[in-house]
Amino acid sequence: MKINTKPYGEIEIDARQVIRFPQGLLGFEERHDWALLDSTQAPFLWLQSLDEAALAFVLLQPDYFRPDYVLDLSELDRESLGKPEDADLLVFAICTIPADQSRMTANLQGPVVVNRKDGIGRQTIQSSPQWKVRHHILEEMAASGVR
């Protein structure tokens, strides 16, 4: 299928890239249909709204810069995700990229979790005070010894 994207204009995607977020994302509750796109700049990915071409998020898998990241999924999260097997779960942090890109941050308090088998997504809320909405990616990467 053809879709309009913020980073790449009109592109062709596979139906398996389409992710339905029954509850939307926080602050974007009415946006239910998204597509997961590989970025031309790995390890980043894009989460593109199918309803609004100008709306897209940059994603990064948390363990890329925080190998100690442990996702806590509630019963409610699991139900909303269609009761997936753990092996079918993908976890992403939404990135905020300011003008000074070296100060880019990732949101580990509200990770986006995807059941890739059934194409269902949900933005979860982590209760652990360890995880904040703004983690400095490069600093924490350096601190955790990831190279």
């Binding site: 890329y64 092996a87 949101n107 933005q123």
Partner: protein, 80 residues
């Protein structure tokens, strides 16, 4: 919005399963006790707000221009 007045140690019940008690009133602060089944998650409203605001900031910041480079880093581990 439903508005209920409660005194110290009084409670309200929501949907037969969530119980909220007023435990302490001190100045402008109220301490609430919440009993809820495990599938009911309770968060301070600020947590929701913080994530909403961060999502908006992230959407604003995600320009179509080049993303920062993390090159020189190891590739993502293969997922099962």
């Amino acid at each position: 919005m439903l508005v209920l007045a409660r005194k110290l140690n009084e409670k309200i019940i929501i949907s037969d399963s969530v119980e909220i008690s007023v435990l302490e009133i001190k100045g402008d602060q109220v301490k609430l006790g919440i009993k809820a089944p495990p599938n009911v998650k309770v968060y301070r409203h600020e947590v929701y707000q913080a994530i909403q605001e961060e999502n908006r900031a992230a959407a604003q910041s995600a320009a179509a221009v080049a993303l920062p480079s993390l090159t020189g880093l190891k590739p993502l581990p293969k997922r099962p």
